[in-house]
Amino acid sequence: MRTLLTMTTALLLSLAAMASAPTGAQAHAFLDHASPLVGSTVPTAPHELSLSFTQSLEPSFSTVEVIGPNGARVDQGKPQISGNTMRVGLKASGPGAYHVHWHALSVDTHTTQGTFTFHVGQ
């Protein structure tokens, strides 16, 4: 019993001490919105995909891949990352479903990932 109370007190003390330490609060980077919109249908193939997140990203460790209707990658490689926005150019491709896979590392090293689809044409 005494040990349990000791551990509880220690945990609460350490929590108070660490919580009072200076820290830049950041959080997981959720996808806030995308262009083209998640799940949307656009009339013509876009030249660029833009992803906006809820937190700033670490450029070296955040990536995006876009697979076109023919099953081949249509993204133009390394994305441009500025703050909480990730952009990547897209190669010209035809109508159909485009699958987007992204990994994001927020500046405090929290990782998130996601997948969505948008459609081009009818």
């Binding site: 220690a10 609460l12 003390l13 997981h28 896979h101």
Partner: protein, 321 residues
Amino acid sequence: MSRYGWCWRPCALALLLVCLPYSAAFAHCFVGARFFPATLAIDDPCVADELSLPTVDWFKNGAIPSASEWDISAEISKRITEDLGISIGDIWSQMTPPGGPKMAGFGDLETTLQYQLLKNDEHETAMLLGLIADWGGTGAINSGIGTPYSLLTPTYYFGKGFGDLPDDAGWLRAFAVTGQVGYQFPTTSYEVAQNLYIPQNLVYGFSLQYSMPYLKSEIQDYQLPDFINHLIPIVEAQFSTPVANNYGNSSATIGTINPGAIWVGSYFQVGLEAMLPVNRASGTGVGFLGQLHLYLDDMFPNTIGQPLLGGTGAAPRKLSF
């Protein structure tokens, strides 16, 4: 030993915890693209650094006649390593029988040791093993809120998101289920003072949840109001069924079904649920359950949001497809 000798051990241990090396930060309950929120009535299927403060409920309990019961509880969860975590929590209860005196006091201190068995990103599946210990003699025994004996409950937890369904499933992919099942046994089988057998119970529950954040970021962005896009409507259910050593006691399953919603932010979540008793032995009328839950790993990513042990401080591995 001096008059302050009682406090040197917790202070020394606290200093040790503060000074431990920090590892690369990770997550609360993210499994692939799925985020399982902290559920209110049952536990989520991940070890995590989080704080529930407070959890408040009110309902009319199963006593005859029903007493009005308030419960206020707090729980802190902390990862020891990336896959091993502990939780410590306690509850304060007040019961007011009709026409009778109020009874109030703390329940038994509860600790939980948990180990993360599995996180499968592709199938949004998580599994967890835990041992819940309610420490007898730490609560208000005279009020009938604490017990003189301890309770041990080995428990299995799971979570499954349906994001791996085919794209044709559309909005159904935002559904997820979580659950837990445990076997609770007391450290004594017979309470002499009350001439009472202490039953062993099957303790189980589940949640069905629909993630609006998942719908927006993974399936279709309907450009709904921001508040709606942070909601996770949920139905939780929790039950306890006596299965052994139950001589002279009611054999009824008790439990509640809790429809509600959780609003998920970047650093905290707020949950509110109704509590519907499944039978008379579980209570009468509709109660409520609310919780403020803090994500310590997001609030303090470089300090208490880290596991206590096993950190290398190394740079994160570069991700590649």
